[in-house]
């Protein structure tokens, strides 16, 4: 049972993390290649606090606020640069995060932080808690899609200049997307730190940022169900299949490339298109 619990917990954290990126890149169309930095921010913040005997549950809002604050700063960057330039700016932020953390002794430097206290709950309870938080964020995402905020996000993702011509202050909405998305990643990071109980700079590097982007894109950028599904599968597949674990990066990158090349709208897009074809075929 213990193994299944670990799997389910890992899965839930990945789903939450992927959905948080989906909020920024999927809903609002701002491609981020440094999202792991916010997972890391949350993880380091939460671990530092629990090590200082702050109760785990209290560290969650703190992680969200700290990650969201840095997310706000990156959001400001998105007001200056767009599209692929935003992507490499966020990539730079990711490298910067790792580069800074490596050199900080109070964060464990190169070696990272080990011996992070376990959350004050049983492993089963922690699993349920992680699933609960992922589900809450999924429901929240689905709600936002339907709201006027989601309407504006659609418009910004489509054409930011037009959005402004329609009298909408796109900057504020972009900032909101960054703050909410990175705060979500911060919470995922706090869960991550107390699930694995060890974190290091390499846990939050470029490869992790690309992996989570792969989950979002393979699932179907913007689709809550698609992204949750892809994150669930891609996060546990390497744990279940040894062969996959050996070639995890190759699999992720090949999948990502294939999706970009042949179906940039991901699994959700493929499902949507086949459903449409099916409806046409059966009158």
């Amino acid at each position: 049972m213990a193994y299944e619990i670990t799997l389910a917990t890992t899965m839930a954290i990945s789903v939450l993390f992927a959905l948080s990126l989906n909020f920024i890149s999927g809903f609002c169309g701002q491609i981020s290649l440094g999202h792991a930095a916010f997972l890391g921010t949350g993880a380091y913040a939460s671990a530092t606090l629990t090590k200082a005997s702050v109760p785990f549950l209290l560290t969650l809002p703190a992680s969200a606020v700290i990650a969201g604050f840095f997310g706000f700063l990156i959001g400001l960057a998105s007001l200056r640069v767009r599209h692929d330039f935003l992507a490499i700016t966020t990539m730079g932020v990711g490298f910067l995060f790792v580069g800074v953390v490596r050199k900080q002794d109070f964060l464990g430097g190169e070696l990272g932080m080990a011996g992070i206290p376990s959350p004050d709950m049983s492993r089963e309870m922690f699993m349920v808690f992680c699933i609960f938080l992922a589900a809450v964020f999924a429901v929240f995402s689905l709600y936002i899609r339907r709201s006027w905020m989601g309407f504006v996000f659609d418009s910004i993702a489509d054409n930011e200049d037009v959005t402004r011509i329609l009298g909408i202050d796109a900057s504020r909405f972009k900032l909101a997307a960054f703050v909410i998305g990175t705060a979500g990643a911060g919470i995922a990071g706090a869960l991550y730190a107390h699930h694995f109980r060890y974190i290091g700079p390499d846990s939050f590097g470029f490869v992790q940022s690309v992996s989570v982007l792969a989950m979002v894109i393979v699932g179907g950028i913007g689709s809550v169900w698609g992204v949750a599904f892809a994150a669930a599968i891609l996060s546990v597949l390497p744990l279940l299949v040894q062969f996959v674990d050996d070639y995890k990066l190759l699999l992720y990158s090949a999948l990502l490339f294939a999706m970009m090349r042949f179906a940039p709208d991901g699994i959700a897009g493929i499902v949507r298109r086949s459903a449409a074809r099916f409806r046409r075929a059966t009158p």
């Binding site: 709201s147 200049d161 037009v162 011509i165 009298g167 202050d169 504020r172 909405f173 909101a176």
Partner: protein, 249 residues
């Protein structure tokens, strides 16, 4: 006569070239002003000064008496300006109806928190349906913009701008790229909007349609204002005639 738009002594230079030279222009409530000029007249530049993309070296632009300087495009739209662009830019991932409905929802999209708390799109869709009807697109409300020809998208631009209930409607070459019948139809629509009380500045190349519908003309050439006034008078002006007929000889 209440002025809606006042352009006061605006000059724009790009490097050594003066694109707009000391232009002043006032548009009053309910007017339909045609803004014409040969190629390179500086029409687009003046237009961009109004929308805020180009900053003038001198002069200022007032909307209902308020200076627009340093206001972003969305703030200018919020203040009562609306723009139908020359190059149509529909939002491709939503239907014609939602393109207009989003524009109708400015009260819900004005603040992030308000937008977050509201989900009901029906009132705006109803209003959008009415607007699409009005511009002659009642039969394609649920179509995706990419499937429709240019003439439809030009009208969509107008409907989206009208949805903002602007004090001043700026139309940037709405007739460009349309055939004669389409252009005449859209010109009639513009005239109709004006008759219903909408103040309009129409920047246009199609002289024939402008002369047909605009009671007032403003002519600019090489960035210099040539004439402004009643259409018939303006067209008799020798400077205007030579700008159009005799080149710059």
């Amino acid at each position: 006569m209440t002025p809606v738009l006042q352009i006061e002594n605006v000059t724009v230079r790009f490097g050594g070239v003066t694109a707009v030279h000391d232009v002043s222009l006032t548009i009053n409530v309910g007017e339909l002003v045609g803004f014409i000029g040969p190629n390179g007249a500086g029409k687009t530049t003046l237009m961009r000064v109004i929308t805020g993309i180009v900053k003038p070296q001198q002069g200022r632009v007032l909307l209902e008496g308020r200076d627009l300087a340093r206001k972003s495009i969305d703030a200018r739209v919020g203040a009562g300006l609306a723009l139908a662009q020359q190059i149509v830019q529909p939002l491709h991932d939503m239907s014609m109806l939602d393109n207009v409905a989003l524009s109708c929802g400015s009260r819900k999209t004005g603040r992030v928190i308000t937008a977050m708390l509201h989900t009901n799109r029906e009132p705006e869709r109803d209003k959008a349906r009415g607007l699409l009807e009005k511009v002659g697109l009642g039969n394609v409300v649920d179509a995706m913009p990419a499937t429709l020809p240019l003439g439809y998208l030009k009208r969509l631009e107008v409907a989206r701008a009208m949805a903002l209930e602007p004090k001043l409607l700026l139309l940037d070459e709405p007739l460009a790229g349309l055939n004669q019948a389409e252009a005449a139809g859209l010109a009639d629509l513009i005239l109709g909007l004006n008759k219903a009380g909408q103040t309009i500045l129409l920047i246009e190349h199609n002289l024939r349609e402008v002369l047909r519908i605009c009671p007032t003309l403003y002519v600019q050439d090489n960035g210099v204002p040539l004439a402004f006034g009643e259409a018939g008078e303006v067209m008799k002006n020798p400077d205007v005639r030579s700008a159009y007929l005799g080149g710059h000889a």
